[in-house]
């Protein structure tokens, strides 16, 4: 603390404020872009053009959607708990910026230089399920409550293999600092962690889809059985915040995945932030591809997959990692 006393506080503070402003812009712009992309990808996978009316090739559709959401009246449902109901979208969206802070987008391009960056992300990502609980309980709606119940069971279960897979990488790198994990990997694909830890990569990918509640694991909202699950009752920007938080979290899991397994901002020929963005978008496109290809699984199937297959697999992988580390 003494070292921070004089000029360093403003320096770090300026960096933090600039980073937060830049991240707010990044999240907003990419959220809009992803909404458009998602609808276009869905359209083309289902052999239709997707949004086409607003602007050339429907490129302004997301803007129109956002304006519509902002313009809607905010209605609190009868019998709903005001504090829980309106607190939930805020709790869901607020930690998003914190999740982006330790991520290194390019050489030296990060918001907060923190040794425990990976742990910071994992710790604050857990707040999202608290938000889902608040939304589900506060809505005074049976669909919402069922959605929340599913969200709890699913996210608590999938957090375990996710942590175990991440732990294998952290043990190999010997650090939780995201920048250092990138620094330990090379520029070519065979020098990335995915070449050494394919099982952990697979587990992380499955868990990242499950933790962001994306199809085929979108049980908490499951529109064909639960209307819209936990956010059934949310009007206008209440829903908008949940939506934005979900897309921001998709970017976070892909960014962390790209950092841990795919060499972060390093890539063949020229290292730089473009490789990182390319990897994030490739990851997101695969997630969309999966969403529009596979049907939703049943709830017992999703839990069985986690407890009976992923957790033992992750434990074995961790054990093998430790043995390999001890031998080499």
């Amino acid at each position: 603390m003494m070292a921070l006393a004089d000029l360093q506080i403003p320096g770090a503070l300026v960096r933090l404020v600039v980073a937060l402003a830049a991240l707010a812009a990044f999240v907003g712009v990419n959220g809009m872009l992803l909404v458009y992309l998602e609808r276009k990808v869905a359209g083309h996978i289902q052999r239709r053009p997707g949004p086409f009316e607003v602007g050339p090739h429907g490129i302004l559709q997301a803007v129109a959607d956002a304006l519509k959401l902002v313009g809607k009246q905010l209605v609190t449902p009868n019998g709903a708990d005001w504090l829980l109901f309106w607190g939930a979208p805020v709790v869901s969206f607020m930690p998003v910026f914190l999740l982006f802070l330790p991520i290194e987008f390019g050489p030296g391009l990060y918001g907060l230089d923190v040794n425990l960056g990976l742990l910071l992300i994992l710790a604050f990502a857990g707040l999202n399920v608290v938000a889902l609980c608040m939304a589900g309980w506060g809505s005074n709606n049976k669909w919402a409550l069922l959605g929340a119940a599913r969200a709890v069971a699913q996210s608590v279960a999938y957090e375990i293999p996710l942590l175990l897979a991440v732990l294998a990488i952290a043990a190999m790198a010997g650090t939780l600092h995201l920048g250092e994990i990138v620094a330990k990997q090379g520029s070519w694909p065979w020098q990335w962690n995915v070449a050494l830890q394919p099982v952990a990569f697979f587990i992380y990918f499955v868990c990242s889809v499950a933790e962001t509640n994306r199809a085929p694991f979108d049980l908490p909202e499951a529109e064909s059985e639960l209307t819209a699950g936990f956010h059934t009752e949310y009007p206008g920007m209440g829903f908008g915040l949940f939506f934005l938080a979900e897309y921001a979290e998709m970017i976070v899991v892909s960014a962390v995945g790209a950092t841990l397994f795919l060499g972060g901002w390093k890539g063949p020929l020229v290292d730089g932030v473009w490789w990182f963005l390319f990897k994030i978008y490739a990851w997101l496109l695969v997630m969309m591809w999966i969403r529009w290809t596979y049907p939703r699984v049943r709830f017992d199937q999703i839990l069985n997959l986690c407890w009976k297959w992923l957790i033992p697999l992750a434990l074995l992988n961790l054990l093998a990692t430790f043995v390999a580390l001890a031998v080499v």
Partner: protein, 172 residues
């Protein structure tokens, strides 16, 4: 522009008050809230405050673990328990019960508080952050007994939960 007033000491004191208030308000909310879900939110607020205290003590690892485990997992499981036991809404507890509850809560507080007041620990200067590697080393050398004892306790708790679950299933 100079930021002379923004010394590390003043910042730490302001943060201490902030975290202290979070713990206090959260604790009152957890005890006094009529709805169990709001009580859980109070608990989460308290946990955030405690996590902030760990940060002030330069123990970011413990602080983040507190959030990861208590907020991300334990509170959420408490919420699950609340949901599964819904419907047994009890009325306000009787006055005698309230007085007994206050006494039960005050007794350990008075005992520990008295001890702390009489033998106040001397401030040991500015806390220093211990690296994660050193922490791991210490856990597996100097404090290995405590570490193993904790894992034993957790294992027994887990086995107990499994046994209870099976009994419930068999009786159906």
């Amino acid at each position: 522009m100079t930021l002379d007033f923004l010394t590390a000491d003043a910042a730490a004191k302001a943060l201490f008050v902030l975290y202290f208030l979070a713990i206090l308000v959260g604790g009152i909310m957890a005890v006094a809230a009529k709805s169990l879900v709001k009580a859980m939110l109070g608990l989460i607020k308290t946990l955030f405050g405690v996590s902030g205290m760990y940060l002030l003590m330069q123990a970011p690892f413990v602080a983040l673990m507190q959030l990861l485990i208590y907020v991300g997992a334990v509170s959420v499981l408490i919420f699950f328990a609340i949901m599964l036991t819904r419907g047994e809404e009890e009325g306000r507890p009787a006055m005698g019960k309230k007085i007994l509850a206050v006494l039960a809560a005050a007794a350990p507080a008075a005992r520990v508080g008295g001890l702390l007041l009489r033998h106040a620990p001397m401030p040991a200067g500015t806390p220093v952050e211990i690296s994660l590697q050193a922490l791991g080393q210490l856990l597996l050398t100097d404090y290995v007994l405590a570490f193993e004892a904790i894992s034993l306790v957790l294992f027994v708790a887990m086995a107990g939960a499994v046994v209870l679950g099976f009994e419930r299933r068999l009786s159906k």
